[in-house]
């Protein structure tokens, strides 16, 4: 993939202009951890690369009114070091911490993970479980897309040519809300999820679950929001029956393939196990809040 132009805009408008005003294929680059590897294998079409690392707002994370405004290109290493964010969204921070290696986390970003749209991306289920919204700017202005609608297929997202993901925003969680993300890999690190599950729960004073969001990864072409799993948890004290029902709902919602990383049967089973375990962890965290 020959890069015929490499551009370094300093603000969002300039970036959108560069992405819009060309007849050539364009790629946004932040850390480049996916882009550089993909460039070895893909077509020989000329390409314009727009490096967004010099746009301050793309690289920053701010807590606003108890919620998160995240610059999509902030490195995972910087993100996971933010104790203020971890206090609110521990599951999302855990997901970011699982990407690649320590070295890779110095370059990789949550926005990159989202736009790259791998079915096995670790942060996407965590974003979906937290109800994250993706703010997209294009030549015609700004639009907002829910995280669960952002990815449209394997390696595909909802953005048109000329559009840029400028912000990921998560509203302030209700009281006694927390999240967790678990993934299954055969080893301990440096691997790609065979299955993943993120759960966010809100508990009332006596420990009853009043709200929940469940998202599963690596078991379909995109990460899925699983409303049936959430329904199984809401109104319960996350007892054995509720957890089993949530696990069963996650298994039922999954549509995995068999490949070198796992079989259909294994993935369907394990995504249920992860959902149950993530729900238990999220509830324990919610109680401590």
């Amino acid at each position: 993939m020959p890069v015929v132009e490499y551009k370094v805009p300093e603000n969002i408008d300039a970036a959108v202009s560069m992405l819009s005003n060309t007849q050539l294929s364009t790629k946004v680059m932040a850390g480049g951890t996916d882009l550089i590897i993909q460039s070895r294998a893909q077509s020989s079409d000329p390409l314009v690369v727009v490096d967004v690392k010099h746009i301050d707002s793309m690289m920053a994370a701010v807590i606003v009114d108890g919620g998160l405004n995240l610059g999509p290109s902030m490195s995972c290493a910087q993100f996971t070091a933010r104790h203020d964010i971890k206090a609110i969204y521990p599951g999302l921070v855990e997901a970011a911490y699982l990407i690649g290696s320590t070295q890779v986390q110095g370059r990789s970003s949550i926005g990159g993970n989202l736009c790259n749209a791998s079915p096995a991306a670790d942060t996407i289920p965590a974003l979906i479980a937290n109800g994250a919204e993706c703010v997209i700017q294009g030549p015609q202005g700004e639009r907002i897309v829910a995280a669960e609608d952002f990815v449209t297929g394997v390696g595909q997202n909802c953005m048109a040519q000329g559009e840029l993901l400028t912000r990921i925003q998560i509203a302030a969680p209700q009281a006694n809300t927390s999240d967790a993300y678990l993934r299954f890999i055969p080893r301990t690190e440096m691997d790609i999820a065979v299955a993943g599950a993120a759960v966010s729960v809100t508990l009332d004073a006596d420990g009853t679950c009043t709200a929940a969001r469940v998202s599963i990864g690596a078991v379909a072409t995109t990460a899925l929001l699983v409303p049936d799993a959430a329904k199984a948890l809401i109104g319960t004290k996350l007892d054995e029956a509720a957890l089993a029902a949530a696990a069963a709902a996650a298994t039922a919602a999954s549509k995995p393939i068999s490949d070198r990383r796992g079989t259909v049967e294994f993935r369907r089973h394990v995504v249920g196990v992860l959902t149950r375990r993530a729900a238990v962890i999220a509830a324990e965290r919610a109680k401590e809040k």
Binding site: T188, M190, V194, D259, R260, F266, H269, V273
Partner: protein, 748 residues
């Protein structure tokens, strides 16, 4: 027995002489050699697992600007149907040539077909895309069961099973049958109170050395040629390459680069003859490098196997009969290490009745190469699993059962000789007395024990020890250093000469500046090359005495030598003084050691493994691991421990997650370290290494090779720990999460 001899240098943990260069990145590996005018060679590989090549058209590729040479099978001079020794095995030259560049049939996904040399790697790569090949795709066979079926597609029309009572007339994928026996198993099984038999499977695995194969070759106009490469045996590279290209040995210099791992996989040739052909045709030096994909698909992995084991024992634990039927995949060409499997499977046991039958079977996968104790881990895995099951069923501690039946000095082996002094009993006792074996286990945890046997080899080694005028010396040896052997050579020479190790610099000579030495394999280097070093050092001492005698007007037999000094009466001279005066006493001093070492001592190993299994996902965590092994005498204990730990780590990987994954049409689907899962540092606990020292009576310091035995026990120790944790039998490797979960669910 006398007290263990006290040594001054050997047994210390000296700083390895190659350490700084490796840590700072100065060390030069296979891909680090570049020459003026050098071009790049790239290989076109088969997209099919099994196909006839109907036609090849390189016209467009050769027309591309920057393409300077094309090499194919036709460029080999007529190759003889002859076997050449190579590392831990041997290769038939025709097969070797056919593996390096396919003749008329491709036999595995990734099989090399032709090579192109071009000004840049990118041009060579582009030119490969312009080659037009017409294939007739054939059905692949990917498993010994399929390959042995009566209607199986036959890989080689001219291959007839060897070792049968009657010579067959029909070509077969079974290259050979072998059997080993002693006593009468029928009698033995009749005496048994309990008999256990099971079928086992082990997958194709790769050595996983970090440095890919690479070389730079130059074929000069005067017919002199040079190859720089990463290899375990540069003299073996010279032998094979010279035979394939019809060169005299003195026309081919092979230089061994530093080597980033081999484990047996760098004991043969893939790129070197091709690079020389491209160099001859282009008139330029040629560099060739495999990428990781090539290494997995087209170097030499370890055999997948299907093995059956049956063992009988009395109630008191006395084993009465042991029987095995072994099937080893050779890959695309005959020559799996099944014979080693036959010879090692039951050798840890002193049992009078044994029978082992082995089959060498070709399949459409890359030709296997040696992998650390080649052939032994698979067979001993099956044997040790059944021994453990018998111990469990009889309610006998698995170490006690092994102690009751342990091979010791004088035990008759199935392959012929009786064992000399060996340390299995000592290893078993050390394991039994270890804190690990006393520790309690919790729910969902299990412990496995396994023993391992490997012969070790000796063979030819050559060393020259050149003394310098200041009394320091250079040890020139011919054995590439994979595991710290230079440090060991240095220590052994220091001990013999009684002078500090840092005054003796060990180097690996090329094929022109040291005489023939067999490759680094069979755990032979510290043993055999060490003996050549000792002999060279003794030769130096002899000359130091002669020179001193000349100065003092005495005869050499009147001179003593100790701690770097000669003396006789009141006369004393240091080595430095003798060497400084050498020009007046007959010129400089060189010691020589040229040996064919006999008496390699087997090294037994006993491992303990604790695991915990997540019953909901099938995931196995290794909690604790202890590797006990007989080193005879540990010359450099740190590198002995490193061998024990490294063998354990590779064996645990083999047991837990490593396997070649093939599609139905024979494409390897996990050719990379992301999906071919060797253990990461974070996957393993610190592996406790316990060195047992039962001296090998045939080595001056008692050395036994330690490089290989350590990979044998982990397969059964780990898999049996898993079966203990889940309370169900495990037979098939790897114990990957999907496989373990399936065992749990199938028995729920």
């Amino acid at each position: 027995m006398s007290e263990a001899k006290q040594y001054k240098y050997i047994g210390t943990r000296s700083i390895r002489p190659d350490g700084y260069d490796k840590v700072t990145g100065r060390a030069n590996y296979g891909a680090d050699m570049s020459l003026p005018g050098m071009i790049w060679g790239k290989i076109l590989r088969s997209p099919h697992a099994h196909a006839k090549i109907k036609s090849i058209d390189t016209t467009k590729a050769e027309a591309l600007a920057g393409v300077l040479a094309v090499a194919s099978y036709a460029d080999f001079p007529s190759v003889a149907d002859e076997v050449v020794a190579s590392g831990e095995g041997s290769s038939n030259l025709l097969d070797l040539a056919n593996n390096i560049l396919a003749k008329d049939k491709v036999l595995y996904h990734g099989h090399a077909i032709l090579a192109i040399g071009a000004r840049t790697a990118a041009i060579a790569e582009q030119a490969l895309g312009l080659v037009e090949i017409e294939y007739e795709v054939l059905k692949p066979v990917l498993d010994v069961n399929d390959a042995m079926a009566a209607d199986a597609p036959v890989l080689h029309e001219n291959m007839f099973t060897q070792g049968l009572a009657e010579t067959p007339t029909k070509a077969s994928n079974i290259a050979a049958r072998q059997e080993f026996k002693m006593g009468d198993i029928e009698v033995g099984f009749a005496e048994a109170d309990i008999i256990v038999e099971r079928d086992f499977y082990t997958p194709t695995v790769h050595q996983g050395y970090i440095e890919p194969h690479a070389c730079t070759a130059s074929y000069d106009q005067d017919g002199q040629s040079m190859v720089w490469c990463s290899t375990q045996g540069h003299f073996d590279v010279r032998t094979s390459t010279a035979k394939l290209l019809n060169l005299n040995l003195n026309r081919l210099k092979v230089i061994a680069s530093e080597i980033g791992g081999g484990f047996g996989g760098k004991t043969t040739v893939y790129l070197e003859p091709v690079a020389l052909i491209l160099s001859r045709k282009s008139g330029r030096p040629v560099k060739m490098i495999m990428d990781r994909d090539d290494v997995f698909k087209a170097s030499g992995p370890g055999s997948a196997t299907r093995n059956w084991v049956k063992i009988g024992a009395k109630k008191d634990g006395t084993i009465t009969a042991m029987q095995a039927l072994l099937h080893y995949e050779a890959g695309a060409f005959k020559g799996s290490p099944v014979m080693m499997g036959c010879m090692t499977a039951f050798t840890p046991y002193a049992v009078p009745n044994m029978y082992v039958e082995g089959y060498d079977v070709v399949v459409n996968k890359p030709k296997v190469a040696a992998y650390r104790a080649p052939g032994a881990p698979q067979a001993e895995y099956a044997a040790e699993m059944v021994v453990n099951e018998i111990a469990d069923k009889l309610g006998i501690d698995p170490i006690d059962l092994r102690l009751k039946n342990a091979a010791k000095e004088g035990t008759q082996t199935i392959y012929g000789p009786k064992l000399k002094a060996v340390g299995l009993v000592e290893c078993l006792e050390a394991a039994k007395n270890s804190p690990h074996y006393q520790a309690a286990l919790k729910e969902n945890q299990g412990r496995g024990v396994a023993a391992g046997f490997w012969f070790n080899v000796g063979g030819q080694s050559s060393v020259t020890l050149n003394m310098n005028p200041d009394g320091t010396g250079t040890i020139v040896e011919g054995s590439p250093d994979i595991g710290g052997s230079r440090a060991s050579m240095q220590l052994m020479a220091a001990e013999e000469l009684g002078m500090p190790a840092e005054n003796l610099k060990p180097i690996i000579g090329d094929t022109e500046n040291v005489a023939f030495s067999a490759g680094t394999g069979g755990s032979r280097t510290t043993f055999a090359t060490g003996m050549a070093v000792i002999e060279a050092a003794q030769d130096v001492v002899r000359q130091l005495k002669e020179r001193s005698a000349a100065v003092w007007n005495l005869t050499a037999d009147q001179i003593e030598y100790q701690e770097g000094e000669t003396f006789s009466g009141d006369n004393r001279m240091t080595v430095a003084e003798i060497c400084a005066g050498a020009e007046r006493t007959g010129g400089q001093i060189t010691g020589r050691g040229n040996i064919n070492a006999r008496g390699a001592g087997p090294s037994f190993a006993v491992h303990l493994c604790d695991v915990e299994v997540d019953r909901d996902t099938g995931k196995v965590d290794v909690l604790r691991y202890t590797a006990v092994q007989d080193a005879g005498k540990a010359i450099h204990p740190s590198y002995v421990e490193g061998q024990l730990q490294g063998g354990a780590a590779q064996g645990i990987g083999w047991a837990l997650n490593e396997e070649y994954v093939y599609s139905a049409d024979g494409h390897m689907e996990n050719a990379g370290f992301l999906d071919y899962r060797i253990p990461l540092a974070s996957d393993l606990p610190m592996i406790d290494a316990i060195i047992v020292e039962v001296p090998n009576p045939f080595h001056p310091f008692g050395v036994r090779g330690v490089g290989e035995s350590g990979i044998i026990p982990p397969l059964a120790a780990t898999a049996y720990a898993v079966s203990q944790a889940i309370g169900l039998p495990i037979t098939d490797l790897p114990c990957s999460p999907p496989n373990v979960l399936k065992v749990i669910q199938d028995n729920a």
